[in-house]
Amino acid sequence: MPGSQNNKSVSNDGPNRTDGVLSLRRRFSWTHVREQVIQWILFCCALLSVLTTLSIIYVLITESVYALPPHTAFFQEVSLREFFTETRWTPQYAEEQQHYGILPLVTGTFLITGISAIIGLPVGLLIAVYLSEYASPSARKWVKPVLEILAGIPTVVYGYFAIRFLTPMLIVPIFENWLGMTVYGKNALAGGIVVGLMIIPMVASLSEDVMRSVPNSLRESGYALGSTKFDVSAKIVVPAALSGIFASFLLALSRSIGETMAVAIASAGFANLTLNPLAQIQTMTSYIVDVMTGEVVSGSTVEKSLYAVALVLFIITMIMNLISQWVLSRYREVYQ
């Protein structure tokens, strides 16, 4: 807490300096006031993050759950029952045909997340094992920066890659020309693949960190018992780092749930309750972008639905982040 850093008066017959530079006595001095003021200012800076969280919650709640009487919030217009059980999401239609069932958006989101998890998590984990167990220091020296580049590429670029390269050059030839399925120009598969690409560096670097923090004594005891390198990495290091790996998986999944632009470009068309990866889908994030970049009437149900969707998104990612934070902090306690 601020204000707890008072200068203790050490002794009464210390140097009685009155020029305000340093006083060992508890007496009024500008230096002391300045120190306190600075501490309070810094405390306010730190408190701003709490304020951000509170204002996110406030904004989402007032628009979706409860609004002061002259206005009505989303859930005062659409029942919770409809929101969670209705299978159609059609806010773009005329008033009487509008349905607000979040199920199609949630399926869309989890379809993308699922595809990205199938691609991103194993590859990321394998890269982490390679970097922490197999790679020579020189190889690690240039693989890590390249992974950082991969992580730093803006998501619109991945979206462009998906819709201009993956879909026409990879997905259409394989699934439509070869296997004879119907592929939409915007499909969940392309979006899922690029989101998977996006989470690879994240999984790799987080998992590598936890694997490297597994104490060497564990590896050495493995070798002493006659294990091969594969035994040590797959049966000792990975299980020992499992909780950290799990946390990195959760963080990556929460990132792919919240991923917006790549999905909006590559996959998002209309809300579609389907698990077909070759069809158009709509995710929670891309619905928000879709509506906000178009014309939206201020105060309409459509606008309020954005906040309701954002609230669901916020809660899901928040829970996943909290769990992974908890797992990571417990993991740190075990090995450090």
């Binding site: 807490m1 601020p2 340093l22 300045r34 120190e35 600075i38 501490q39 200012i41 810094l42 405390f43 800076c45 730190a46 408190l47 701003l48 993050s49 709490v50 969280t53 204002s55 996110i56 904004v59 590859v123 394998l126 890269i127 094992v129 390679y130 970097l131 197999y134 790679a135 730093g152 590429i153 803006p154 998501t155 619109v156 670029v157 979206g159 462009y160 890659f161 819709i163 201009r164 690409l197 560096p201 091969t228 594969f230 035994d231 990132r255 749930i257 917006t260 632009m261 909006a264 928000i288 972008v289 906000m292 970049t293 201020s298 954005l306 954002a310 990612t317 996943m320 909290l322 934070q325």
Partner: protein, 454 residues
Amino acid sequence: MKLGDDNYERRLIWRHRIGQCFEWLCRLATMGALAMLVVLMGSIFSSALSPGRGSGLAPVSLTDTGKNLDTQGDLTYTVSKIIGGDFYFTSDPEEKIKSFSGTDVRGGKVVFNHNGKRAAPVFDLSVSDLSGGKEPIGKFKEVGPGRIPSECPVPHVHPPKPAKPWGWLTWNFLTNGNSDDPLQAGIMAGFWGSVWLIGLTSLMVVPIGVGAALYLEEYAKPTMLTKFIQLNIANLAGVPSIVYGILGFTVFSRMFGAFDKQVTVISMKFLQFLGAKPIDITLPLGPVVLSGACTLALLSLPVVIITSQEALRSIPASLRHAAYALGATKWQTIWHQVLPASLPGILTGVILSLSRAIGEAAPIAVIGVAAHLSFAPGRITGISDLIQNPDKLIRAPFDRFTALPTLVYSWVNEAAPNFEHVAAAGIIVLLATLLMMNGTAILIRQRFQQWNRW
């Protein structure tokens, strides 16, 4: 050890093989990820450098001069000689054009496809009457850019805009504003919008982020409140950027809908001696640079705090103890010793997280930024313009804007052909900007590392 036990040896060999396979699998995964990066970059560059074939643009258009529109259907145009470049109809991209009749001319225009040769298309075209057939009405000779034959009776031939050696990433692209025509569309407005965003965001996020990190690392006792703030920051770092967009839209752009119409709150008149009009600041802010910068500041704040904390944590305690021993107060120690020592780490973290934030299209698109702008924030056109009207510098944060990633997003989503090449060129500018920022971060890290005294 059972020598001579075949089973045991076979098991050993298999274990070895499995290990080898696993190692190669790991290598393959790494190589695959790196190869993906190469493919990604390759697809972008090849698209930006390709001149845009088969999409109906880079057109040759015949524009009617106003004479004899009715008789156009009776005319046959014969390409008598192609001197440079080939041309195809948009309707049938496979067939080379040798001749076309007036019925292909719609609204005085016929659109060809340019096959992608870099040279400016030059060709001879004779126009003949259907009835006469043999008698050419006029003849176009070696029509090149800007060389429209003076004696042509019916249409003018506008040769396609020549594809430049640098493909779509041309000087025009860098200096033009956005446009509906892919040949004219440029990135200038987006680039300056992003520059303003970077500047304003870092002005806000650096003092607040470093301040918060200082409090948490240097002052805070491990109380429940500190733990809560710490957890909260870690969580905020994982909140999807679109949620920050919604927050920025509601709080900064729309201001909770508290204002029914635009209300002028401040009217700055102090620059009037320069002949400037008073600068009115109206609320709600709307989709202006300032609301975008505030949104990005909130978005990047948690990451800046976390990286600054790490930088502060790497400063050895002996440095602080030495300063205290010399009688420095806490703040004197921080200001004169800890901050300068941790500056490279902090700056690197700040720049890296800012470059992440600048690449985010979602929050900027959500606060209501229009992509179809053709001016830089504040309508600043150049340095001379800025010297004449310094008030534009204050106007700019309150002006509408567009940013690099939002422009790219709008181009990628554009249905009109050839915008994919424009988008690719835009992506290269965006990546170059980010690369410049990251390069600065590396430079700072190397330059300041010499200062470290331990």
